[in-house]
Symmetry: D2
Subunit: 309 residues, 4 copies
């Protein structure tokens, strides 16, 4: 491993590797890691330059782990994100036909996504839970006692399996969002279509804290696109909030909002400002553009100097 | 008149002159002006250095005039305020006794304040409206056809009248607040117990504008102590807000709030930061002291430079 | 005087009488009252059925009196409003020509409105303050020592004066809004373009109270069209708010908001729901129509009964 | 299986079974289910009366599955909750000593919780991920190739394993919260220390929606204790919110707030009102008690009937 290496959530053949290919970072190597925790630890220890891990998805549900790992320990920041479509296929060992399939292994979320297809096409089959979709596929080649795995297409190529059926998710719009995580350093440049991720630790026993947080954002015209309250692991009922909001910390409105959050929270952990995967620019309402902030600065200077009544 | 002269709302013998004495500005002269409009025009034209006019009171009700005159025209700022108790007396020409009093003149608000005393002590009398309480007193000496005036004690001395009864207001806690108004210049120093006065012109057809204004103040922990919506005189339904809030524009929280108001309002007119007449310090909630703002500035610099994750 | 009589703020020839004619209530008589206080007292005592008094205007500034008188004493309610244009004329005794005019009397606010015309047309004249514009006109016929009065056109006819110049206000869009006040009784019917007036007394030492009030209104989609903080006359710094908001108390959204205000305020005085003078219907945002409220009631009944998960 | 049977998230020996015992529902049977999805499906099909599943915990991270399963499909409601401490032990086949342990299996979250203990006591060991802690324990008895499992104590008894070390979590305050889920029916009675769980689907492209939701709660004095935004699975960026708030839907303040949410959300799914596991009563601020609501209802009736001004 070198400083040019990026860890991704493995094994090979998962969506993480697919996401890795989509990002297309030249002159770097990818390397699978067995868990989000391990992937991030490799970044923290400096063994790899960064890690590609899922943060929000409609399949594997690994959001919580990623969020919790980023919220504690030595600081890491997000430098990029990518979203890839989730496609499921029914994979079997070469030679297996659909009529041979009695037992299917997959991750429970993938099972949930393919419930309709399974009911129609394999009504008599039993589905058993696996740790990951790629793990279910890999085990097929290592003597697993079940007949098929539901996993993504890429796993077939990876493990030498056949695809009995493709596109079997009931809802084919599903996607998973991955992030690239690195040690703190120079921020990605503003693109005008950016996202900022924060972890906000609240003062204890503070009802109304979330309303205050949202107000700090909304008075600066900033839209929040994701929020979760997570226990701090000290005891149930002691929370932090993990949020994504539109904009880059170099935007004046985001900078002032972050200062406001810093003042009212027990602790703010900045998890990065980076380009949105979809390139969608935020609607900037009247009064919160950079020039509006600059004009206001100048006006206040005049007021304080006694020039403006 | 000189640059050492201050105009006050006259005639001599009104509360304004009493307030003027309370302020006790050394090496200056006072001079009565016939109306708030005239007093402020004298400041604008440079004929006097400042003017002392009522802004909020429970007697003469002249708030609206003062507010409207300050909201338009060339800019003026408030540099001090003083509050004086409102005391009413029944004044007569020397030789008049209480049994002679059939007709009493006074300003309608003073009449309202003394309603109980009049009903008990002069049940058969008629009260006629006058332009000001001091005007009612002055006219007694100039051949007015009524028998007595309700005015403040100071008017008796001024116009050579007798005091038939003193302290006749039904509620003896009443006070009037006066302000000193000057041309823009260096601001009064921060005392820690200051007030800031603003005029906020709204964009047309903007329901919810006031909620936005209050939110800009409350997110910075600033309490508002007075508010009025006033028509802009262009047409009914087009408003501005005249507000007082706690704090000095040199306070970080007030500065940031004013910048916020500048961004969301069509126009903000700054009418001054000056010591409160009652010396009451605001309760500064957690997170909005000057050092909280300074800490947040430093933290944001670290975040933007990539040093802090 | 009878129960068919309405008092209006006199003397005859003021805007109040003009407003009275515009309202055109059949089978009723009008009668001048010397002050807002007297006019309202006549309603309270039952001597007249109602009173027509100014509540908001750009000329006489009598808002404060009206608001204060309605906020205390035995309850009264507003049943109608009317807005009339403010037109000023220069009135003289028959035979006086413009070159004879040296001294002009008027109310200071009227003077302010005609400042430009006076500077151009009567540059050398002196303006002296009067209690009301109509009073200044009336006094011309009773031996006043000045030469002309600035008042509304109607006063010329009333007092037998000549009009030397008409439409002399610098801004000819000015209007005054009058209200009809009666004893509590059946409310005016909903028209869909109504206004509700309230007086809100706050609990002592409650910073942030106004933000709470506005929030109670805004969560039910109600726009506020006027607000003033007024001292309670007990002592400076103890306030009530006088507000107008869109809608009728029979609207579901207004009813729920009023209940919310009743719960958070020390006292709420309802001053009436009545048709807007301009017939402008409010913009009712998604979720706050009467049927939205009715649907929600029904849904909650289902939830509480255990029928809906 | 019968209507007296409750499914719990199995296999036997997990925290879910421990929680089941704590709840102590008499005259009922427990039965393990392989996944949250299966457990809830058993309730929906009527095969069991209810299911006990984790909703929030610091170990297994299965919150997302539970939330998503409750948010869609035929409606279910929560009728009870219980919180149990999370205790970890190192389990081995009888005869294994600590010096024999080279490879340990467990769920990644359990590994994270025991990281410190492992580094100190088994520095050279390898940890491999398992689908659940109990599954890792169970597989030890079925020929798994690893030497030990980290799981809860109860699993030792269940699977005939030895406890080599107990209480090995780095933080021994950790807990998991479980809920009992049933088909809709009569609600649990109010206890004064209740919680209400909701799923709120937002109208598309509605920035500021969360601020509106929180405002609907806060104006009725309701504190939110958990919030998560979850993708609707239709496409990334289309969210619902899953929230817990204090109080019972039979509380007036909660009822009115729910109606408010019903009016502003695209859809509200009510997931139940039930006693809090910790019996903690909410702080009810001035103005939002049931009697405050009842008083306000009565007052509004008076206002609308014209009796109250």
């Amino acid at each position: 491993m070198t400083a040019r290496t990026y860890a991704f959530l493995g094994p090979r053949g998962t969506f993480a590797e697919a996401a890795w290919r989509v990002l297309g970072m030249p002159d770097t190597d990818g390397q699978p890691a067995p868990s989000v925790t391990v992937a991030l630890d490799l970044v923290r220890s400096g063994e790899v330059r960064g890690a590609l891990v899922p943060i929000e998805n409609s399949v594997e549900g690994s959001v919580a782990t990623t969020l919790d790992e980023l919220a504690t320990g030595s600081p890491l920041v997000i430098t990029a994100e990518v979203s890839i479509p989730v496609q499921f296929a029914l994979l079997v060992r070469p030679g297996t036909s659909i009529s041979d399939v009695r037992v299917v292994a997959t991750h429970p979320h993938a099972q949930a996504q393919c419930r309709g297809w399974l009911a129609e096409n394999l009504p008599g089959s039993v589905v058993i839970p696996a740790m990951s979709t790629a793990g279910a596929a890999q085990a097929l080649t290592e003597g697993a006692t079940y007949d098929a795995a539901i996993a993504q297409r890429i796993a077939a190529e990876q493990y030498g399996l056949d695809i009995l059926a493709d596109g079997i998710a009931d809802n084919d719009d599903a996607t998973t969002r991955f992030i690239v995580v690195e040690q703190p350093g120079p921020l990605p440049d503003r693109t005008g279509a950016d996202k900022t991720t924060l972890v906000l630790f609240m003062h204890a026993d503070h009802p109304g804290a979330l309303l205050e947080i949202l107000t700090e954002l909304s008075v600066r015209g900033i839209n929040m696109t994701r929020i979760e309250s997570r226990p701090t692991r000290r005891a149930m009922g002691d929370y932090f909030f993990s949020i994504d909001c539109e904009g880059h910390v170099d935007d004046e409105r985001v900078g002032e909002a972050l200062k406001g959050l810093h003042r009212i929270c027990a602790h703010v952990r900045f998890l990065g400002s980076y380009p949105r995967h979809d390139g969608r620019q935020p609607l900037i309402r009247k009064g919160v553009s950079d020039s509006d902030f600059t004009d206001a600065d100048e006006w206040l200077r005049g007021v304080r100097s006694g020039e403006i009544g």
